[in-house]
Every structure is written in C-alpha cells, then in structure tokens.
Amino acid sequence: MRRSGALVLVVFAAILATWWVVLLLWRTDALPTALLGGSVTGLLVAFLIFALSAQRRRPVAVRASPDLSLGAVVLAFGVTGLVVGAEVGPWLLLVGAAVSAGGLAQLGREHMAARRAIDRATSARRAV
C-alpha cells in the first residue's frame, strides 16, 4: 500500500479508542458511549477513504487550480437562505433552494471547464 499519511488517523483512533474502552468499563449511558465510539468509527472510515484514494491516485502532469469560484460563494448564500428560511418561512426556503441549485450548477460548470483545461494542457504536452 502506498503511504498516504493517513496513518495518523489510525494512530489517533487507537488513542481515542483506549479512552472509549475505559468509558465502557464504567457502564455509562448509551449516548456518551455512542459519541466516543462514533468518533473512533468516523476516524477509521476517513482512514479508509484517504488510504484507498492514495492507492488509486496516479501522478498527474497537469493539475487544474481554480483562481475564482463564484459557484462556491453562491452555494454558501443558498445554504444560508435554506437555514434562515427554516425560521422565516417557505418563501425564503424556496429562494435558498433555488440559489443553492444555481451554485451547484455553477460549480458543475467550473468543474467541466477545469477538465477541459486539463485535457488541452495534456494534449499540448503530448504534442511537444
């Protein structure tokens, strides 16, 4: 397995699991046990995600790095509309949902543009 640095997640999960086991000895309520146990599980899941993605990752010659992302900003405003809309009323919920959808669409466009830029740059490198 390629080293991904994700090992730190396992080390941390092991330390946290030690305290979780000690908590189990106290036979406390379900919620405290579930909270600590949930974090340990989350860490292990994150480790698997990072480790597997590091396995699959191939070195790339060209990487797209966005300078601007209007989509991310619009999405943040949309999510805010959704959250505040839960208090203010359905009209703001709808506005928030529409703005969020617009933000996601814009993010999709940015992603596609980045893919095209990578393809162009890769072709140019091959031509050289």
Binding site: V8, L9, W19, W26, S65, F77, V84, E87
Partner: protein
C-alpha cells in the same frame, strides 16, 4: 517607503470569490477581527454594568442578550475562525504545497462563517432582541416556552452555519496535510504549528458534527416537534462539541507559540517527537472529558470524566516542558512576538492549574456556575488563545502583508494587555470563590463585591486600550511601511523561503531540501539530512567521535 507590490490589488470578484488560500484566510481573519471588536464592545458594556452594585447601564433582558452574544461571538465567530484562518494561510506554505486541497470548499466555508455571524447578530434587529439563552443554548431554557423570541432561532441558524463552515475548512486542512505535502515533507517533518492544526482539525471534523445534531434537535423542539431531546442528552451532544472547541481554539496557538519561541530563541524546537505525541494524546483526551461540564447534573460517570480531565496534565506538562526547554540556553530576542508567547505561557498556566481544581467533582460542586469558572476559561481562552493569536500575528504579519509592525508599539500592546488580563480576571477568581454567580446583571451591595468588580472593569478598559494600541500600530505601520523582506526573523520553516507576501502558488523558486521540521535552520547551519533528523547534537557527537568532516 512602501513594500514592493507582489500582486495586483484584487478586483471586486476576486474579493468575493478568490480561491487562493491566502486570500480566503485573510478575509476570514479580517472577519474574525471585526467580530472580536464587536464582542469586545459587548464585554465593556457588561463590565460597566457590573462595576458597582445597583447600576442600571442596561436592562436585565439586554444584559442577557449581551453575555449570550458576547460568548457566542467569541467562540463561534472569533477564536475558532481565527485559529482556522491561521492554519488556512500557513499550512500549505509549511508543507510546501502550492495550494490548499479543495479550495472551493474552503471558500464556501469562509462565507458560511461570515454569513452565520451576520445571521446571529441580526437577532439584535428582531422585535424582542437577540438570543438570551447563553452561548450553550441550554435546553430547556432555549426552548420556545422560555425563550420564544425569533432571535433565538437566528442564533441557532447562525451557529449552525458557522459550524458547518468550520467543518468544511477543517476538512480541507486535513486533506492538505495528508495529501499535498511536498516531496521530502514526511508527517514527522511537518512543523510543530502544523501538528497543532492537525490536532485542531481532527477535533473539528470528528466532534463538531455533534453540535449540528444538537442544534437541529433544539430547533425541532422550538418548532413544536415535542420533547425530542432530554436536557441531559442535549448537554452531552453540546459538550461533546463544547469541550473540544476549547482546544480547537488552543492548539494552533500552541503551535504558533512553539514556532515563535523556537525562532526567537534561535534554537531548534526541543523534544519535537514527544511534542507531536503529546498533541495527539492531548487531543484524544480533550474529546473524552466533555461531561466534566455536567458533574453537578448527577447523571454522568463523574469518576471517569475526572480521570480523563486530570490525565490532561501529562501531555500539557510535556508541552510546557518542551516550550521552556527550547528557550533554555537559547539566544533569546524579546521582540513583540516573543513577549506575547511568554505571556501565553504564564497566563495559560493560570487557566490550566485552575482547570485541575474544577476537574475534581467535589471542588467543582463548590465552584460550579460561579465567577471562578468565568475566570478559569478566560485565562485559557484570553490568556491562552488571544495571547497566542497575537504572538502569531506579530510573527507572521510581515509574511502576510510584506511589511513590519512597529516593535515598540507591539511591546506597549503586550504590556497593556498583560496587565489588563491580570486586572480583569484575577478578581473574578476571588468573586467566584466568595459565591458570586455568573450571568447576573447586578448584585447586592451588602456582599462587598463592589471593589473587586470595579478592579475587573478597570482591567477590561485597559485591555480595550491595548487593542487600540494594536490598531494604531497597524495604521502607522501601514502608512509608513517598512518592507519586511522574505525572512525578517531568521525563521526555520518553509514559509520564510518564499517572498512576502507569497505569490499565488506560494513558491516561485525551488524549495530548499526538506531534511527535518526546521529546513531553513538546517540550511543555514549546513546540517546534512542525518544530522538534521537528530538535531545539532548529532554533529557535536560526531566531532567528539573524531569525524574529520563533521564541522
């Protein structure tokens, strides 16, 4: 004389939507500073109200809003975002990366925090005012029958958004440290600051979601969904977030102080490996102590949580030992960053030692809900986090903006803030011990608490004066810029190997060889990789062993 312009000034769209981690970080840091000033004004009004018994500067209702929004702003919108902003700016530079992982998510996270703050503060415009149920939002106090105002709902929404933004940024930082390190930058060659941020983001990603659940359940209750969460369960969910957040607001500043002390002592950091190990142990413990906030409920395993709380002494002791040992025998320069770092060590120690007191259930029963608790956490959060933040700010300001802050004004800022912190918070220990409960707008004159409260109020204005000195320092230093150069302090880590401020993708020249956690120190002292791994002592041992080429 102005510092040379590295990049053209950003246009309106760039100000809104730049994905450069440095710009996101400076925007987030700027927003945190604005919220800090606003929360500071609320604190001054509260201290005026408490200066003497019988004063009516504000009504009881307004006082409740002030302490709720002051605490909420400082925790959710100032110190946590400032800690993440520091990491957002520096971690990619420290690990030699050209950018942060998933910059769009980080950008959205920054905006969620800012918008969350605006939503929370908009409660003051609501008909019945802002939230009044403390920064914890205690259930059932925060429930609709007891706090029916829409300001409380806006508080829930604001905190939810800010927390969501913080989790997003933390995930980006975690991925950056795991996936975007430069060749040669192994995990155990990351600077101590990065490990501080690593500890922080582990808690943000794996503990903060509990707060989102708690807020969701509280909101559902307020909307008439019935008793969906018991008071004790709400507290479990809240404090599972609420205690780690104390360390989220602490570890990056421990890392910052470590870098400052190392640089201004002109010594490599002492005991690096044990520092890293203690940070991980500290982090795991800080996620295991949450119910010490609930000792007096009688519904938690007090002995377990007292054990884990007291065990924190071990990693904390290792860290203090390492920080002091780094200074030992060093050529110490007492510039403003170093003064703030030493102030951090002294003031956080007061917070830490009083933490042992209230980590013991019998003693906590005495101190619970008193000003003793207020004093304790202000020594950890103000004495620790804010002093650490200013140590980091004075240290990295030249890198961020390309010009230096005035050191004389920085020293004055430190002196006033240190004095102010002692004057403001030491009397609160005595008041709490004598039984003054927190979250009260007034107290009877017969208790004899007037003098101590007056001293505390005077101290809070001394702190405000120190902040004014800082702002004047920024203004003067900006108007008459002294260019910083790439490495004004003889730094040890990679950010000092690039221009100030760094270019768009951080490094426009080859990175120096990364042979340890202090690559620039190694370069300056000509250490070979194996010597760098073991520290300069290896070279001395080599000389003693008769190796001819050791020097």
């Amino acid at each position: 004389m102005r510092a040379p312009a590295i990049a053209s000034p950003p246009g309106p769209l760039e100000r809104l939507a730049s994905t450069d981690h440095k710009r996101i970080a400076t925007r987030l840091g700027g927003a945190a500073l604005v919220f800090f000033l606003a929360a500071g004004v609320l604190a001054l009004v509260m201290r005026l109200e408490l200066a003497q018994p019988g004063l009516q500067v504000v009504s009881t209702e307004t006082y409740n809003e002030l302490f709720t929004i002051h605490g909420s702003t400082m925790i959710y919108l100032v110190v946590t975002p400032a800690a993440l902003a520091l990491g957002l700016y520096l971690v990619p530079l420290h690990v030699g990366a050209g950018d942060i992982a998933a910059p769009r998510i980080a950008l959205a996270g920054m905006w969620l925090i800012v918008l969350g703050g605006i939503v929370m503060w908009s409660g003051f415009l609501a008909k019945q005012g802002a939230a009044k149920a403390t920064w914890v939002g205690f259930d059932p106090l925060a429930d609709a029958p007891y706090t029916p105002e829409s300001g409380m709902d806006l508080w829930i929404g604001g905190v939810f958004l800010a927390t969501l933004g913080e989790i997003a940024i933390a995930a980006c930082l975690l991925a950056t440290m795991l996936r975007k390190r430069a060749p040669g930058m192994t995990l155990l060659r990351m600077p101590v600051f990065c490990w501080g941020v690593m500890a922080t983001v582990l808690m943000v990603v794996f503990a903060f979601p509990a707060l989102l659940v708690a807020l969701g359940l509280l909101f559902a209750e307020r909307q008439g969904a019935g008793d969906v969460v018991s008071s004790v369960d709400y507290q479990h969910l809240f404090w599972f977030y609420g205690h780690p957040v104390v360390y989220v607001m602490f570890f990056p500043f421990v890392g910052a102080v470590a870098e400052v002390i190392s640089t201004f002592s002109e010594r490599r950091f002492f005991g690096y490996f044990f520092m890293v190990l203690s940070l991980l142990l500290f982090t795991a413990l800080s996620m295991s102590v949450w119910a010490h906030h609930m000792f007096t409920t009688g519904a938690v395993a007090n002995r377990y949580f007292a054990l884990t709380t007291t065990a924190i002494l071990v990693p904390a002791g290792v860290e203090y030992f390492d920080l002091i040992a780094t200074m030992w025998g060093g050529r110490i320069r007492l510039a403003a960053p170093m003064l703030f770092a030493i102030g951090f060590l002294l003031l956080f120690l007061i917070g830490g030692l009083t933490g042992i007191w209230i980590g013991s259930p019998p003693l906590d029963y005495h101190a619970n809900n008193s000003y003793f608790i207020v004093a304790h956490f202000h020594y950890t959060l103000f004495g620790g986090s804010v002093f650490g933040l200013f140590a980091g700010l004075y240290f990295w300001w030249p890198k961020l903006f390309g010009w230096l802050l005035r050191d004389g004004l920085g020293r004055l800022h430190f002196a006033l803030m240190f004095l102010g912190a002692l004057l403001t918070f030491i009397p609160l220990f005595a008041l709490g011990h004598e039984g003054m409960t927190r979250r009260i707008p007034d107290y009877p004159a017969s208790e004899g608490w007037g003098t101590l409260n007056l001293i505390s109020t005077i101290g809070s204005f001394v702190i405000a004066l120190s902040i004014l000195v800082f702002l004047i320092n920024v203004a003067i230093s900006w108007l008459r810029q002294v260019p910083a150069g790439d490495d004004p302090w003889m730094g040890m880590t990679l950010e000092w190997a690039t221009s100030s401020p760094p270019p768009r993708h951080n490094f426009d020249r080859p990175l120096p060889p990364i042979t340890s956690f202090a690559p620039l120190y190694d370069l300056r002292h000509g250490l070979r990789p194996e010597e760098a791994e073991q520290g300069p002592e290896a070279r001395l041992a080599g000389v003693a062993g008769g190796q001819e080429d050791a020097v």
